[in-house]
């Protein structure tokens, strides 16, 4: 093998690793958010919202299954969706840190959902045109679901923001609390750059402007103020998480960890 060939093979391996990691990030974000929403089922403010939140949870777990299955294949070590979901520890999870934030009150849940919905809308829309046809197909399906999720979350954002004084105050507080986690959304690292260069994924900073426009329109409808620019960014997608993820995983992974290697 010539040095040029060796270089090309090395470069291809790196691309595959970046592609795998990128897909994991999408899958983990969907999984962790779906897991959080699952905590609500049976405890929502009204029966309609129980069903609505369960619907979102179901869609997100479904997206996670497709994405984690694909990530496992890209990794090539024989790990399936359940190996990836149940047998990795927190630093190996690549979800956006926002997704793992606790449910809080209904306003926190809605603001968290709405922020991720608006982010996923941009990402999935762009990915539907990916050169990676498998990822494009998953994104196209997920985009349809996300359009519905965004209708749900932006609808509630407007009801809370433009509802009573109490609900407005709670929604604004949730927004102030969670806004700092959005700094991670469009800050590219070497993985993002690599997959963008290969035509697999969109250029992240390029999504910031349309996202911002959507966010401003939704906030205006909800009579809420956009918080100041976040000064610190968590790096969940690089495995640097808040303290909450470990607890979420402890519950989620409990059976697989207690009884290793069984079929369920």
């Amino acid at each position: 093998m010539s040095s040029a060939e060796r270089h090309a093979a090395e470069s291809e391996r790196e691309l595959q690793a970046a592609r795998c990691r990128y897909v994991l990030r999408l899958g983990d974000t969907a999984l962790v958010l779906g897991q959080r929403l699952g905590e609500w089922v049976g405890h929502a403010p009204a029966l309609e919202e129980d069903l609505g939140l369960a619907n979102l949870a179901l869609d997100l777990v479904g997206q996670a299954r497709l994405l984690l299955t694909y990530a496992g294949e890209l990794e090539g070590r024989g790990r399936d969706e359940d190996d990836l979901a149940f047998l990795r520890d927190a630093p190996e999870f690549m979800n956006l840190a926002l997704a793992e934030q606790p449910n809080g009150d209904f306003a926190v849940t809605i603001v968290r959902q709405w922020l991720i919905d608006t982010w996923q809308l941009q990402v999935y829309r762009a990915l539907a045109a990916s050169t990676d046809t498998r990822l494009a197909a998953i994104a196209a399906k997920a985009l349809k679901e996300t359009l519905y999720h965004h209708r749900f979350s932006s609808g509630w954002l407007a009801r809370l923001g433009d509802g009573t004084a109490e609900s407005h105050e709670r929604a604004q507080r949730a927004l102030e609390e969670l806004w700092r986690f959005t700094a991670e959304f469009f800050a590219p690292d070497e993985v993002d750059e690599r997959v963008h260069a290969a035509g697999i994924a969109p250029e992240l900073p390029g999504l910031a402007a349309p996202w911002s426009a959507q966010v401003d329109a939704d906030l205006a409808a909800a009579t809420l103020r956009r918080p100041a620019v976040a000064s610190y960014s968590w790096h969940g997608k690089r495995g640097v998480h808040t303290e909450h993820l470990g607890h979420l995983l402890a519950a989620m992974q409990h059976l697989q960890r207690t009884y290793p290697g069984l079929r369920w």
Binding site: A46, S167, M252
Partner: protein, 339 residues
């Protein structure tokens, strides 16, 4: 889930003597298997019986979301997690159809809900038992949804149209739940020793409460005769219970699990399984509010209701603002709110 004959000591409803000719016409329609619809005349006792039964059924569906919801975050695989979320969501949907069916009788869902939260309304006793291991999710699907189907299939032919139609849809989903539950049990029964023990333990805890889901024995069930005349009920509690036992015992054999009843045996002369004595003291204790989880279940419902109050108020305030905006702008741009 899940209707249950709960009223052990209620008053026998008045016979449908009221109204004379119109009452006779009503009974004749019922006898001819015609459906009674919301706008039709009906005896007040018929209406009250239906409101009570349908609302108890609706409450059971939504309280039933709690013990199973308890395992959503801990389901052992992503497929199981998705199936469980969908199941619990179905149960909430059943609650919605049933509240809607009750509303056709002239009672508001909010009022029924208040009755649940105040403890005045009953719901199926089965949901006052805890879900302690993953196998309980299998056992509930297999036994509790299985018992629900047995109870509810005859209600698909109930004389009251809206209830019968809701039940057709619900029964389809319940039988899906039953199969999924059985499949969880089968996977555990064919798994490791620890999994088999988990499955057996779940059967040990859920068997008798499932048997009790059919309500008091016929001798103690005051409503049966009138409900049968009205075709709200088609089989007695004991008949349904026996059907359930006869179908379920062979399934337990197939799973290789033991039914926790030493007196259980096949009776050649009746061609049915005979079971040991049911602990009715436990049944009545659970109905009175003294089961293992009665407090937790009601607290969870009340907690959700109380902490959701500001959310419901916000939705109402927002809707009022939207209506006002629609009125002032002629309605064309109200959909998007203020922008």
């Amino acid at each position: 889930m899940y209707t249950q004959a709960l009223d052990t000591h209620g008053k026998e409803p008045l016979p449908a003597g009221e109204g004379g000719a119109v009452a006779q016409r009503f009974q004749a329609r019922v006898d001819a298997d015609e459906k009674i619809e919301p706008k039709d005349w009906m005896p007040d006792a018929y209406r009250q019986t239906l409101i009570r039964q349908i609302s108890q059924h609706a409450h059971s569906e939504i309280v039933g979301m709690l013990p199973e919801g308890n395992w959503i975050t801990r389901a052992p695989t992503l497929r199981r997690k998705a199936v469980l979320i969908a199941k619990v969501q179905d149960e909430g949907g059943h609650g919605m159809y049933l509240y809607s069916a009750a509303e056709t009788l002239g009672v508001a869902r909010a009022e029924l809900f208040e009755q649940l939260l105040s403890g005045a309304a009953k719901y199926s006793s089965i949901f006052n038992y805890p879900t302690l291991t993953w196998a309980d999710i299998g056992a509930i699907g297999w036994l509790v949804d299985g018992a629900a189907i047995m109870n509810q299939i005859p209600i698909c032919r109930c004389s009251y149209g809206p209830y019968a139609r809701a039940m057709v849809r619900i029964c389809k989903e319940e039988s899906f739940h039953q199969r999924q539950g059985f499949e969880i049990m089968l996977t555990l029964a064919r798994g490791s020793a620890a999994q088999r023990a988990m499955a057996q333990d779940a059967l040990n805890r859920w068997w008798w409460p499932s048997i009790m889901m059919f309500g008091p024995s016929d001798a103690d069930s005051k409503h049966t005769a009138q409900s049968m005349r009205w075709k709200i009920k088609r089989f007695s509690n004991d008949e349904l219970r026996q059907k359930f036992i006869d179908i379920t015992v062979p399934q337990a054999f197939f799973l290789g699990l033991a039914i926790p009843d030493r007196e259980l045996h096949w009776n050649e002369s009746t061609q049915h399984y005979d079971i040991g004595a049911i602990d009715w003291a436990e049944f009545h204790a659970v109905l009175k509010g003294n089961g293992p989880c009665n407090r937790e279940r009601l607290e969870a419902r009340r907690g959700a209701y109380e902490s959701g109050r500001w959310v419901r108020e916000a939705a109402a305030a927002h809707a009022a603002k939207e209506r006002a905006r629609t009125a002032s702008t002629g309605g064309s741009t109200a959909q998007t709110g203020r922008t």
